[in-house]
Structure formats: C-alpha cells, structure tokens
C-alpha cells in the first residue's frame, strides 16, 4: 500500500514553545492511523496544519507523493481532507438537514443533497431524522451529523479528533464499526486520541508524539497498552492500588429523593435521586455529559438559585438548605469542573485564591481582616506537598498550566481537612503526570477515612478510583454497582439509560 500523506520535517513555533519539532512520518492509504500523545504534545497543532487551520513554519506535506500547500480548510477539502472536531460546529437551532447544507462547499441542488445523504445513511446504517433540530439530538447523534457532513464532501482522508471522549461504550463500538467500514471502502482515517485501549482495538498504525517530537511510528498489533503508555509518557505511570473498605455500614452522606422542577429548557431535571456514601468510601457518578451532572453539582454546592425537593443529609444533619459557606464549615469541600473563573480566579494570586474557598477559617480572616501571613504559609505548603510548579505563592492563578492549577485547587481543598470531598471532572483536560498525582492523592485521602464523591465523564478514571459507581442518565441515577469485577456490559447499558 502506498503512502497517502507524508509529513516531512514539519515544525511549528509559537512564542515560547515549539509545538511541532521536525515531525516526519507517513500514513498509508486505506489504513486507520492513530496519533497518540498527552495534552500539549502537539497532536492538535499537527492536525490543524494538515487541515489548513494554521500553517507550518518549515517542512512540507506530501499528498499522494505530490507536494501541497494547504492554506485554509477549503484547500484541504479540495484535496479530499475532511475533519470532525472534538467540539462540534453545528447550529443548535437549525435542523439536521440545514446543517448538512451549510457544510457543503460545492453547489448542489437540495434534491441531489438529500439523495446523497440518504445513500450515505443507508450504506453505513446511520439513523438520522433529517428534520429534527440539532438541539434535540444526543451527543452521539450530533457526532453522526458531523460525520455525515464530512462524508458528503467525498473525502479521501477523514480526521477524527478525540471522537470517543463524549460517547457511551455502546456508541463507541458502533463508531468503530463505521470507521472500519469506511476504511474498507477506500478511506484513510486519522484517529487522534490519548486512550490507549481504543488505539489498540481500532487502529493499524500509531505515531506517538511527546513534547512536539515524534517518538516513533509502530504497528499497533505488536503493541500493548502498557508499551504505548510508556512510549507516550517517557516514564511508567505508577500503578494505583485501591484498598477495599468499608468497615462501617453507616452512611455519612446521603441524598434522599432529590428532584427538581426547572422550567428552563436548557437544564436537565433531576428525578428522584438517591445516593449514600460511607466513611472512607469513594463514590463515582458516571454518565455522558449533559445528563444532569451540572445541575446536581450546583445543588450540592448550593450555587443553584432554584428550589428542589428532597433531602441532603450529612452526619445526620439535614444540609439541604444550608449555604455554601455553612457547608464548608461542616467540612464539606468542593472542586468544580471549571477551573478558571469558578474554583479559581485567574487574575488573582495563588494566595488570594486560597481565600476563595477557605474564607470561613478564622486563621485566615478574623473580624473581616485578612491574615496574609497565615495564608502565605498555607499556599507554600500546598505548592510543596502537591508538586505545583509555580514561580511563587503570589503568582497569578491564570499563569499556571491546567494540571498545576488543578493540583493547587485540589491541594487547597484536601489540606483544609474535609470529611467529604465532592469533585466534578477532577482530571479533565490536564496532563497525565498531574492526573496520576491527583488520583493518587484521592486514594490516600480515602484511606484516611475521608469520603469522596466524584462526578466524571471518564469511566476508566471512575473504575480506577471508586468503590461504588452509579450512572446518571437524563436526570435519573441508577443504583450503585460495586466497582470490583464490575460488568462492563452492564455499565454500558446503564450509560445508555437502560436501568429503572
């Protein structure tokens, strides 16, 4: 099989960073080729160069052994390169059909477009209602619209950027079957991911990037998840060991019959949620994004302005009506999904950010006066114990990388000695090093007898950390499964809403 794409010595510089450093490798026709690397390893930059979103500073790209200049996505489409982004570019209020029209560059009659769409849908078993508005579709269906839109351009090369991060296990399997079929029909697929298992299961070749450089290109069937992980990181990820609890039967935290009645069409209503966490237990709430996780988190932190029915009990106290401030005083800590502008203020220093969640402590503020000496000591302690790489304790929070800021925030909450820690997406969008550090800290915390609730889209993370796992689907919460020897098929069914 001949090479369809050849990257030759591609380099791309941004101020202060080399995003792509002398990248050379080639992609064989009709193959599924993975590009693997951590966040910030240069995957996105490389793909953007190929799709004409940005231009490389040196080197060249060959398509079918012919040197090409791709100045914009329009050039890329003319060469048969199409891309499905991680963040969809669909118009919410328009119908599927209207969105498809908008993605087509050539002039096509409505009738012809409809014929083509139906042909593609029949061929690959897509089940799309062309007239329904995008806002009524699930995330998986939206992705299908994006893929159909790309296929309508008759591509030779299809780039999929982290396509599985928003899908349930079921949907992932279906996507993989479609990809395999597409390749059989002559397409070449470039698959961007940082999930090792998927790459092994799906792709033929894998190119590994680390800090902007190519580590190598390998045939996937000769590799294992461990060997790929080692090459991707350059060091071995320390294995986590989870101690099984739990001696006490008594639950420390309990949600009873929690329901909401929002009139806002963009929020999900929670329906009769019940949940119990024991002392030292780590409880996980899995589920595809947008199934009520944010609404639940807002109620737990008391940031929602709306009313709800049901009770939240902590240490035998009904805390349903308590403010964020009073909950913190009862030693409940929160880490929200969004870092910048929510659990940290980027314009403020790290010391000032300590005060954000710990302003109830009398060590830090008494009679409305701030004690900056104590805060400074505390900040330095976080930086030291949680390996935060920051120039100083008065650096601005916005200057830290995502991983370092998240370590700082989680450190801030852990060192405040909570009895219950509630986290949403604790390792979202951060580097693998910080991720494994945070996971390790959480496990150590649970060994000390502290209960933890984790809301996450990352099912592997939950299985690694949690003792019990529940799934949220359209505002309903499944009963919890014990994570040890969990039946993945059953978990997959739960994530698709198959539970009562």
């Amino acid at each position: 099989m001949s090479n369809i794409i050849e990257f030759q010595n591609i380099s791309k510089f941004y101020p202060g960073v080399i995003a792509n450093d002398d990248i050379s490798f080639s992609i064989k026709q009709q193959s599924i080729h993975a590009i693997l690397g951590e966040n910030g390893a240069g995957k996105s930059t490389l793909v953007k160069i190929l799709y004409g979103h940005s231009f490389h500073d040196s080197g060249q790209i060959l398509i079918n052994s012919r040197q090409v200049k791709i100045k914009n996505p329009f050039d890329a489409k003319k060469l048969g390169i199409n891309m499905v982004f991680q963040h969809f570019s669909l118009f919410e209020s328009l119908s599927v059909y209207e969105n498809l029209i908008l993605g087509i560059d050539e002039n096509l009659s409505f009738k012809k477009l409809k014929e083509n769409t139906i042909e593609i849908c029949n061929k690959y078993g897509f089940n799309l209602n062309l007239d329904s508005p995008i806002s009524s579709l699930s995330v998986g269906e939206r992705q299908t619209v994006e893929i159909v839109r790309a296929l309508l351009n008759n591509p030779k090369i299809l780039i999929l950027d982290e396509p599985t991060s928003v899908l349930t296990p079921f949907e992932i399997e279906r996507l993989f079957n479609i990809i395999k079929k597409l390749v059989k029909d002559g397409l070449t697929v470039l698959f961007i991911s940082h999930k090792l298992e998927e790459i092994i299961n799906l792709t033929n070749y894998v190119t590994i990037l680390r800090s902007g450089k190519v580590i190598g290109t390998y045939e996937t069937h000769k590799e294992s998840p461990e060997s790929l992980g080692l090459k991707m990181l350059g060091y071995e990820v320390p294995a986590l060991n989870k101690k099984q609890v739990i001696n006490s039967d008594k639950s420390i935290f309990e949600i009873k019959n929690l329901s909401t009645n929002y009139s806002d069409p963009f929020s999900v209503n929670l329906k009769d949620i019940n949940l119990q966490i024991k002392k030292g237990e780590i409880m996980g709430i899995a589920g595809v994004a947008g199934n009520g996780q944010n609404e639940l988190m807002d109620i737990l932190t008391n940031e929602s302005d709306e009313n709800f029915q049901g009770e939240i009990i902590f240490k035998n106290i009904n805390i349903s009506k308590l403010s964020t401030f009073e909950k913190r005083k009862l030693s409940i800590s929160f880490v929200t999904e969004q870092r910048l502008g929510h659990s940290a203020v980027p314009e403020m220093t790290l010391e000032e950010n300590v005060l954000l969640s710990l302003n109830y402590k009398s060590d830090f503020s008494k009679n409305d006066l701030i004690n900056f000496d104590n805060i400074s000591d505390y900040t330095k302690k976080i930086i030291k114990e949680f390996n935060v790489s920051a120039p100083s304790s008065i650096s601005k929070a916005g200057e830290l990388s995502g991983g370092n800021l998240q370590k700082f925030i989680i450190g801030r909450e852990i060192l405040s000695n909570p009895d219950l820690l509630i986290l949403s997406q604790p390792t979202w969008g951060i580097d693998v090093g910080s991720e494994s550090f945070i996971r390790k800290s959480l496990l150590e915390l649970s060994e000390k007898g502290i209960s933890i609730l984790i809301i996450s889209h990352d099912i592997e993370e939950l299985i690694e950390l949690c003792h019990q796992i529940s799934v949220i689907y359209q505002g309903k919460l499944s009963k919890s499964l014990t994570t040890e020897n969990v039946d993945m098929t059953q978990l997959g069914k739960y994530m698709g809403g198959l539970f009562d």
Binding site: P15, T301, N302, E303, S323, T324, F325, R328, F334, T336, Q338, G341, H342, S343, A344, V345, E347, M348, E352, L355, L356, S357, N359, Y360, S365, D368, L369, I370
Partner: protein, 232 residues
C-alpha cells in the same frame, strides 16, 4: 449639607444596582443613561424653581450663603477641605481592598460572579452595597464642588469630571494610591488647557483631546503588553 449630598448620591446609585440585581441589566449603560437624567433634572431646577431672580435670565441658582460654603484651606486659593476628604477616601479604599475580607469579596465578585458563588459570597448584597458606597462618593464629590469653589448651581457645572474620572482611575492602574497621583496629573491638563486658551489662544478643548489620547495610549500599551501584532 455634605451628609445629604452623600445620601443623595447613594440613592441615585441604588437605581442601577436594583436594575442590575433584579433584571440583570448592564450597569454601565443604565448608570450612563442616569447621568443624562440627572443633568436634565439640574437643568430643570436652575431654569425653574431654583432660578436666581437676580440672574438676568441666566440659568443659575442663587449663590449659596456663607454658611453653605466649605472653608478654604489657604486664603486666596480655591482649595477646600474636600481635598482632605478625597485623600482620606483613597487611603480607606486602599486599606479595604488590600486588608479586609470585604474588599476581597468585592474583588472576587468583580472578576467572576461564578467564583463569587463558589466562595459562598452573596453577590447581590455586595453589588447593592458597592453602588451605595460609590454613589455616596460621587455625591460627596458633587457637593464639595458646588459648595467649595463654585458656590452656586448652574447648568454646565461639571466639565465632564465624571468621565474624566474613568481616565484617572485607569491611569492610576485602578490602585487607590495611584489614583491620588494620576488625579493630580489630569488636574494639570484642566488647568493647562485654561492657561493655553488664555495666553496662547488655543481652544481649551485641547485639554480633553490630550486626556483622550492618554487613555487611548495607556490602554493600547496594556494591550500590546499582552499580545503581539502579527502582520500576515
């Protein structure tokens, strides 16, 4: 009189605060529009009920009696005790913003309302309180001006002091102590513009042009500090 000036300003400041907390309006727009309303009310007063009968038809009020005037600091000059007040207020606000939890709450709420909720602050209370204090300060500034150097009410009492205050605040890097210094510099442009008109026959508007340029270049320099211009 000073007290009522403060209270009046606070109540006027309460209007955009309530509009913001109840209806989520943009406080910049509502307060800007309210200044026009305030100017028109003043207009009405000086041509209507408060008009000076001895003014030969000019729209102005009677001069305030001596008891309604602020003492002058140094004889022969126009500086009055309002100067002490403004320096005091700048020092107090420096202290509040840097040492107290209250100032911290204001800062967090200003940067991000979500972070303020996360911290457990009651942002609506804070917003109303801030507008009350700021309104009171603006009211004080007004009363000092009319009872100090001017001594009566007339139509164009403020040569855009309110808007110049924005330039002063940015030039002082939003730092209360910096603002003391920057206000002195901007004051020079007012005086300098008058002198230029008197002695060089240059229109005094040159002073405003100069103020505008200062703000323009200051914000421009801030922007260029953060971003790099790339010409493709």
């Amino acid at each position: 009189m000073i007290l009522f000036g403060g209270i009046g300003g606070a109540l006027w400041g309460l209007i955009p605060a309530i509009l913001k907390t109840k209806f989520n309006t943009n406080e910049i727009l509502t307060s800007l529009m309210l200044t026009y309303i305030a100017i028109l009310i003043l207009d009405y007063l000086v041509v209507g009920p408060w008009k000076d009968p001895a003014s030969y038809g000019l729209p102005k009020s009677r001069p305030f009696p001596e008891s309604g005037r602020l003492p002058v600091l140094i004889d022969g000059l126009r500086a009055h005790i309002g100067v002490y007040f403004s320096i005091l207020i700048a020092i107090i606000s420096y202290y509040v913003f840097n040492k107290t939890l209250f100032g911290y709450k204001l800062k967090v709420t200003g940067y991000s309302s979500k972070a303020s909720k996360y911290a457990g602050f009651k942002s609506n209370q804070l917003i109303i309180f801030t507008f009350l204090i700021s309104g009171a300060c603006a009211g004080l500034a007004g009363i000092f001006e009319v009872s100090g150097p001017i001594g009566l009410l007339y139509r164009d009492i403020s040569p855009n002091y309110g808007f110049t205050a924005i330039i002063v605040a940015f030039l002082g890097r939003l730092n209360p102590i910096g603002i003391i210094l920057s206000s002195l510099i901007i004051a020079l442009t007012y005086l300098g513009a008058e002198d230029a008109q008197l002695f060089l026959k240059i229109p005094s508007s040159v002073g405003f042009v100069f103020q505008g340029l200062v703000l323009f270049f200051l914000l421009g320099a801030d922007f260029l500090n953060k971003y790099k211009v790339i010409i493709k």
